[in-house]
């Protein structure tokens, strides 16, 4: 089922949590909503589920405006961040709940429901736990029960709010791979919210980067990482370094010196240069480069991160050097970003 979010605005007591958000989700896609805390990820997810109504704009399921449908009719599976399992029901009853509350005509018989619950438990690798109560499960197990419960109703769209938020790194990685497998096996259109960019980039077909109630960029992992379209995305996804620069005569300048990068001549004025700390070219001489002295250096896994101080205003910038690079404290290093982007200074 395609889901289309069209120019949706959501206010809570005049406070805009989402400004004019549009998003097309294709059938069968696995989409990640990524963004800092308070950026509106949960709000967007809840709007799709029908748990909130948009202040303006509409959400379409296929060609149909979903605002005319109640939550019950939307047939979405929603997995809450804190699972929201039914405490007084066994695992099997939790999973079977969505089938049990169906109106008489479409309700499968009891044995059928029980059988379906057992199949789903197999799918989420919890076979044999059907008679436990949620209080008797670990966090990761509850998470999987919540997912099985949401999938029991054969939803057209599966929505997960920080599905792995409360779990440790090891379990997260495991569940991540497993969610991908389940998605591939069932083909649900899936949207999940996460704080964790690694999770988003690794798992999703497309990543939706959000900030302050707006969608900053939508794209595959490669697109958002390699060609970020805003300073925010550059800074939020992966490591980045930035330097204030000036654009003049088709060149990028730092302190009245060109650094050897050319840009379209039209964009004169103050700007900021963004690049990845590891994506730099080290130079010997310096006619058109950024050169500075090492003021700090630390070892990060397979590389060395150094902080350079340069220019008359003692600006600092971080780059990565190979571990065997001889640069030590106070030594001079010259470089030029290999891949970079200029964003004009915000007004």
């Amino acid at each position: 089922m395609d889901v289309r979010v069209a120019n949706v605005r959501k206010e809570f007591d005049r406070f805009p949590a989402l400004h004019d958000v549009s998003l097309d989700i294709r059938s069968g896609e696995l989409i990640a909503l990524l963004g800092p805390s308070g950026s509106g990820k949960t709000t967007l997810l809840r709007l799709i589920a029908g748990l909130e109504t948009p202040t303006r704009g509409a959400i379409y399921f296929g060609d149909e405006d979903a605002s005319h449908r109640t939550i019950q009719e939307r047939n979405v599976g929603f997995v809450f961040q804190h699972y929201a399992l039914f405490r007084h029901m066994t695992v099997a009853d939790n999973i079977g709940f969505g089938l049990k509350v169906r109106p008489g005509a479409t309700r499968p018989p009891k044995v059928e429901i029980r059988k379906r619950a057992r199949e789903l438990l197999d799918l989420v690798q919890l076979s044999g736990l059907e008679d436990r109560y949620p209080a008797q499960l670990s966090g990761g197990q509850r998470q999987r029960v919540a997912l099985a419960r949401a999938m029991a109703i054969e939803p057209k769209v599966l929505l997960l709010d920080e599905p792995f938020g409360a779990l440790d790194a090891q379990v997260r990685r495991e569940l991540r791979r497993w969610l991908r497998d389940i998605h591939d096996a069932t083909g649900h259109t899936t949207v999940f919210v996460t704080h964790d960019q690694e999770e988003a980039l690794e798992l999703a077909d497309r990543v939706v980067v959000m900030s302050q109630g707006r969608i900053e960029q939508v794209g595959t992992a490669d697109e958002v990482y390699d060609t970020p379209n805003s300073p925010f995305v550059y800074g939020f996804i992966g490591d980045s370094s930035s330097v204030p620069v000036k654009i003049e005569a088709g060149q990028v300048w730092i302190d009245e010196r060109p650094i050897g990068l050319s840009v379209p001549a039209a964009s004169n004025g103050d700007a900021t240069l963004y690049f990845r700390p590891h994506d730099v070219e080290l130079l010997d001489g310096c006619s058109g480069c950024i050169a500075g002295t090492v003021v700090a250096s630390r070892r990060v896994a397979g590389t060395r991160r150094v902080e350079l101080e340069f220019g008359g205003h003692q600006q600092r910038v971080e780059i990565e050097l190979p571990v065997e690079h001889p640069a030590a404290q106070k030594s001079r290093v010259a470089f030029r970003p290999r891949r970079w982007k200029i964003f004009p200074q915000e007004a």
């Binding site: 939550i71 809450f80 804190h82 405490r87 709940f97 169906r102 109560y133 419960r149």
Partner: protein, 283 residues
């Protein structure tokens, strides 16, 4: 009694890391002994002096049996009514915002605070055949004051806050997401309430029932004004005890009291066991 640890097994719970288990348990036992156990065993002791046949004769006396029936019957009915309407009141107070909510919230506690005799007199004047409400009911052939129905009305009044105040905090604690989860799974509002929310409230409702019931069985002050106190019809057991005392028939008074005690204890114990059982399952 209802806040006691609810482990039905015949073993101590493994003491938690919170220190002072021995000390607090010792203190609790000593305190309960002093405040509850010694006075009550005095009661049993007095009636034991009566001898089995005399005791049995008093217990089986038609007036005693009838008074006990009325006391327990009206208390159960009133507690049941309170469970239904008390839960609704608690729900409304927690879930809806409307002008005057705080005032209603405060009003719920009035039956706690009001001297019961005042309540009894007020209710009697309302429900008496010439009272505001009584005069409306009279043509319909419904007689409230001076009948068992009047006792039920008084006990409903007295017991309401027990249900509201035990259920209210639990409704406040209901996780909004649980309701939303039920809705996304296709449950109607009604199904959500009956299948998801209500079972979660059940332990609190049972507690509220137990408290309202216990209060109702022992209630004296408000009931004697509205009941009319006709033997065999609207005479409650506590009143019968007082009557026996006034006749200097201490043996009969203590015997009736002992029977009340035993019945109440058994009922409360059963309620507690139900609670323990449900808590064990749902954690």
């Amino acid at each position: 009694m209802n806040t006691a640890p609810a482990d039905a097994g015949w073993r101590f719970r493994v003491p938690s890391v919170i220190p002072g288990f021995g000390l607090t348990l010792g203190f609790s036992l000593a305190y309960l002994t002093l405040i509850i156990l010694i006075p009550l065993s005095g009661l049993v002791w007095r009636s034991a002096a009566l001898g089995w046949t005399d005791f049995w004769a008093i217990a089986m006396d038609r007036r005693t049996v009838k008074a006990l029936e009325i006391s327990f019957g009206t208390a159960i009915i009133a507690a049941a009514v309170n469970v239904v309407f008390g839960t609704i009141v608690a729900w409304v107070l927690v879930r809806y915002r409307f002008p005057g909510r705080r005032i209603i919230d405060a009003m719920v506690d009035l039956p706690f605070a009001l001297p019961t005799a005042v309540a009894g007199i007020a209710l009697t004047s309302l429900y008496a055949p010439r009272g505001w409400i009584g005069s409306l009911l009279e043509p319909l052939g419904i007689k409230v004051a001076y009948s068992p129905l009047g006792i039920v009305v008084a006990l409903i009044f007295i017991g309401l806050p027990f249900v509201v105040r035990t259920v209210q905090p639990i409704i406040e604690e209901i996780d909004k997401e649980v309701e939303e989860a039920a809705a996304t799974l296709g449950a109607s509002r009604f199904q959500t309430i009956t299948r998801v929310l209500f079972p979660g409230l059940a332990p609190a409702i049972v507690t509220g029932f137990a408290l309202a019931f216990a209060r109702g069985v022992g209630e004296y002050g408000s009931v004697i004004f509205i009941a009319g106190n006709l033997p065999y019809v609207s005479e409650i057991a506590p009143l019968l005890i007082v009557i026996r005392l006034e006749e200097y028939d201490y043996a009969a008074a203590t015997a009736i009291a002992t029977i009340m005690l035993a019945l109440s204890f058994v009922m409360l114990l059963v309620i507690n066991l139900i609670q323990a059982w449900s808590r064990k399952r749902y954690g």
